[in-house]
């Protein structure tokens, strides 16, 4: 936390906290791993209610950027501001409590818990905060939350597996569970790391439909995605990351036409 203040109070830094309708503002973020620049001079604004896609070739720094946003990595320079609050230097759980949820690329579920419990954990976290010592509140008595959890699970198509252990699920089902775990928190900002990777076409379409539905609800989303079909059917705006830098930004149509993007990314990808 003090690190965040340090950055914010750094004399002469006085960085930009973004404009009024900006939810997430990434300000001049640098990150390097033993000399290798993973991110440099990254500036990014995500506006209220939009679905913002970040695309880029492998190794472009997309996951690093996401990790910087949720507090897994500390940037060498720069800061991430969410809704006027500096996230940089905060712990992951604090960032989540502010309303930023992340859906992981490789499913990071709780393998030894049931599907329903997997969704109940983030639901409880949303309701009770980062720590609540209530040892005698029976988990099975949480009627309202459970109904909600079941609804969310139904929306991702897992209603038939409520009591299954997450460890025995298929990879695709785990991804859907991941999504449900993000959705149940009704986050102000949902970060999705390749939500459809490894899914069959049919499932991908279902996921797109689901994400569209959520969009109607007004949730702000950042999606990292490889699948251009997904990107162009969902994104309001797209940022293209290559070699750790943002090389282009704009609406899907703008990006489609951008020669730099074509060169760096689309060309090779759409073979």
């Amino acid at each position: 936390m003090s690190a965040a203040e340090d950055i914010a109070n750094e004399p002469g830094r006085g960085f930009d906290r973004g404009t009024a309708n900006t939810v997430l503002h990434i300000d001049d973020v640098h990150k390097s791993f033993s000399g290798l620049h993973a991110l440099s001079d990254v500036d990014l604004d995500v506006r209220e209610g939009e679905t913002h896609a970040i695309i880029g070739p492998n190794g472009a720094g997309k996951s690093t950027l996401l990790n910087v946003c949720v507090g897994r990595l500390k940037p060498d320079r720069g800061a991430v501001v969410f809704d006027g609050e500096v996230l940089t230097g905060k712990h992951p759980h604090e960032i989540n409590q502010l309303g930023v949820a992340r859906v992981f690329q490789t499913p990071e579920v709780f393998p030894e818990l049931s599907v329903l419990e997997n969704v109940m954990v983030p639901a409880l976290s949303k309701r009770d905060g980062h720590f609540r010592l209530n040892p005698f509140k029976n988990f099975f008595g949480e009627k309202a939350l459970r109904d909600e959890a079941e609804n969310v699970l139904e929306s991702v198509g897992l209603q038939a597996q409520l009591t299954d252990m997450a460890s025995v699920m298929s990879r695709g089902d785990k991804r859907r569970l991941e999504l449900a775990m993000g959705l149940i928190q009704h986050p102000r900002l949902l970060l999705l790391d390749e939500p459809t990777a490894g899914m069959a076409r049919h499932d991908t379409n279902a996921t797109i439909d689901l994400l569209k539905k959520i969009k109607e609800g007004g949730m702000t989303k950042v999606i990292i995605e490889h699948d251009m079909h997904v990107v162009f059917s969902l994104a309001d705006r797209i940022s293209v990351l290559a070699g750790g830098r943002i090389i282009a930004q704009g609406t899907p149509d703008e990006i489609k036409e951008n020669p730099k993007v074509k060169e760096a990314y689309l060309g090779e990808e759409q073979v």
Binding site: H93, E94, N96, V109, E112, L124, L133, F140, Q185
Partner: protein, 391 residues
């Protein structure tokens, strides 16, 4: 589902309570029906249940829980010596002090995880043990152990050798020699002592069961399952871990206190790392993460320690007396490797066999057997009702 789960929980709880209260009858055929062993099973059952709240739910393996046993025992003894022979304040103070001590150790140790956490707890417990054995002799009476004494007549007598028992004295209770511990007049030795421990064991079981099924319990399980993910879900895991550590420390404190209640003496060796190891073994032997398993494990290990160690060669000889003489000697010689003074061998082999073949402990074994029977009865039913294709 609500009602079904509830029903299952209550059945388990009532079944457990019934078995615990009937232990004297159940254990009689194997020669284990005597107060001391019964008390020890109940006390170590409490210890193991508490340990399982930490280890079974969160996966954090503490090698220092014996320290809390020691704290509980010493605190109880001092309550007997300074306040009253009634066990109520002793138990209350012990549990509170053990909780505080656990908070201190947990606060520091839980900054690390995995084997580093284990070694930190081990280090704290070993330091407690070493100091209690030597430098802290004025508080712990070192090797001899802290004991209750008669009321001192001369204020110059050290408190180790003469008690004051302020409350009892104020109440004007006359003491003949060294008084015994009691719960409002109910003596805490023998079978009453066992039933006292048994009731506490049942209460502890109930609490642990509620904890396990609570939101809190689920968070602990989530920590074990994937602590990293939990952070990104907005949960601050450390307070949960500290809470679990303190609760299990309080269970250990209660167990230590009960050891002093049923037998008012407290020695430093209760805090040695081997004692911490013992509870790990109990938990794993019975079944980590299960509610009944740790108690079962505690019972088996205490039985082995008390009874298997007493089967000396004389008993072996008479057991094998139906064999021809040469064979009899051979068999009792072979048996002596495993029972009597060789009982440690049996214990070691038992751990190996359990871990190799039944990683989920005895409870998993029971589940497997139950599953076999269930399948059998099911297949009987289905074959009787209508021919179904094989699975």
């Amino acid at each position: 589902m609500d009602r079904k789960t509830n029903l299952k929980d209550w059945t388990l709880f009532l079944g457990f309570a019934a078995v615990v209260l009937c232990l004297p009858i159940i254990l009689d055929p194997i020669g284990a029906n005597y107060p001391d062993l019964l008390q020890k099973i109940a006390i170590f059952g409490i210890f193991a249940i508490g340990f399982n709240i930490l280890f079974g739910l969160t996966g954090y393996l503490s090698f220092g829980h014996a320290a809390f046993i020691g704290v509980g025992s010493y605190m109880s003894l001092w309550s007997f010596k300074l306040l009253t022979m009634n066990v109520l304040p002793a138990i209350a103070f012990s549990v509170i002090l053990a909780g505080m001590f656990a908070y201190l150790i947990g606060f520091v140790s839980l900054r690390r995880s995995g084997i580093y956490f284990s070694i930190l707890t081990l280090a704290f417990a070993q330091m407690s043990y070493s100091l209690a054995y030597s430098v802290l002799t004025p508080i712990t009476n070192g090797e001899t152990g802290l004991q209750t004494r008669a009321i001192r007549t001369d204020p110059a007598t050290s408190l180790l050798d003469g008690d004051i028992r302020i409350i009892d004295q104020a109440l004007g209770i006359q003491e003949a020699s060294v008084p015994t511990t009691h719960f409002f007049g109910m003596a805490m030795s023998g079978y009453t002592g066992f039933y006292f421990c048994a009731v506490l064991l049942i209460i502890c079981f109930f609490i642990a069961q509620r904890l396990t099924n609570s939101n809190f319990g689920m968070m602990l399980k989530a920590i074990k399952s994937n602590q990293n993910r939990l952070n990104y879900t907005g949960i601050h895991t450390r307070p949960y871990l500290i809470a679990a550590f303190v609760i299990s420390g309080m269970y250990a404190g209660l167990a230590g206190s009960l050891m002093a209640v049923t037998d008012p003496i407290a020695g430093a060796e209760r805090m040695q790392w081997t004692a911490s190891g013992e509870v790990v073994l109990m938990t794993i032997l019975g079944g980590v993460g299960t509610l009944v398993g740790p108690v079962l494990g505690a019972g088996i290990i205490k039985y082995a320690e008390q009874k298997v160690s007493s089967w000396n060669e004389g008993i072996l000889d008479s057991f094998f007396s139906f064999l021809p003489e040469g064979l009899q000697h051979f068999m009792s010689g072979l048996g002596a490797l495993f029972v009597g003074e060789g009982w440690h061998t049996t214990l070691g082999l038992l751990f190996m066999i359990i871990v190799i073949f039944l990683p989920g402990g005895i409870m998993e074994g029971i589940r497997r057997i139950a599953a076999v029977f269930a399948r059998k009865s099911k297949s009987n039913n289905t074959s009787a009702a209508a021919p179904q294709p094989a699975e």
